[in-house]
Symmetry: C2
Subunit: 202 residues, 2 copies
């Protein structure tokens, strides 16, 4: 009996290091499949369509909304982001673990809809450090940074309903902790019981 | 705000490798404190009083039972084993994580009494391998081995209400998994929220 695929939902304020941590996680667990979200925002330098996001025009996005193709979607900083329902269903069916890197709003919708998953919130060690990290990103303007800081303070309040909180102070330690959370989640009794029942004929 | 100490409860059929795994865990996490159970059984060669167990005469044990000094106690293979209530209370208060290596009966009593903890069940990869391991222990006689095998098949059914199941096939992998479970348990939101609230003034 193969267990259902595990949905690993990771959220963080912008600048907390979530993207780097997620990349580290897929390197550590090659079988882990990244869910690719849909968005109407413009690609940043280096971002690739179909790899980082499915970059779609707003009209196409609205069409998918109308067709209930998204399990969650939201507007963030004036852009639309959505997770396709098909992605989640595929994980459930195929037994493949899926990594879903979405913002708090999106994650909350999944939680409220009763979608089973491992919800992890990544935090910077402080707001001062978050500001420093955002400022070192050449792509963001001052106004954008201020908006992100305000938003971060709002988002951090959402941490309370996640399953796990990872503080990304030293990247290697945060990476190790995140890996431990994923490893441990594969040994929960809910995931193991089918296999154990078969092994020991109980 | 210091989080309460975590109680890590580990059970396994005799011969599954629990003692070795627990020793590995305390080496990996030096701050983890082993709870020392009380028992009326005779020390095995190499076992030390106050380290492996508190070895006490049956009369002293019965006296502790009468004084409600045990949060759980049970008779196993004709010997009495008990966990002192003080051990658990100390963990809660001091914020020290405590490792409790007890059998299914004892663990079930804790669970039924609503004691909060991380309940982990260690399994051998098969009953055949369990038999092989028990037979290679020079200290056990054939009759004892048969009794342990019968008991193991009963105990394995109890795995279903534990939080995690670790199959000890390759020791290094099982050790790694057990470490991940302990590491992850320290990042649960319940444990982190006090610290996060303080850090971000939320």
């Amino acid at each position: 009996m193969q267990p259902q695929g595990l949905l690993i939902v990771i959220s963080a304020p912008s600048g907390a290091g979530k993207t780097t941590l997620c990349r580290g996680l897929t390197q550590r667990f090659p079988a882990l499949q990244e869910s690719i979200s849909y968005t109407t925002r413009q690609p940043r330098p280096g971002e690739v369509d179909g790899v980082d996001y499915h970059f779609v025009p707003e009209e196409a996005f609205r069409q998918m909304v109308a067709e209930h193709a998204f399990i969650e979607w939201a507007e963030v900083h004036g852009n639309l982001y959505g997770t396709a329902l098909a992605t989640i269903e595929e994980a459930r069916r195929s037994g493949v673990d899926i990594l879903l890197d979405i913002d708090c709003q999106g994650a909350k919708t999944l939680k409220q809809r009763g979608v089973e998953g491992l919800f992890v919130f990544v935090l910077p060690p402080s707001l001062a450090e978050l500001r420093r990290r955002l400022e070192s990103r050449s792509s963001d303007e001052r106004e954008v940074i201020e908006r992100r800081i305000v938003r971060a303070t709002e988002e951090i309040r959402e941490a309370r309903w996640y399953d796990y909180i990872v503080i990304n102070d030293r990247l290697d330690e945060a990476q190790e902790l995140l890996s431990a959370i994923v490893t441990a989640s594969r040994a929960t009794t809910g995931r193991m019981l089918g296999q154990v029942a078969k092994m020991f004929d109980i």
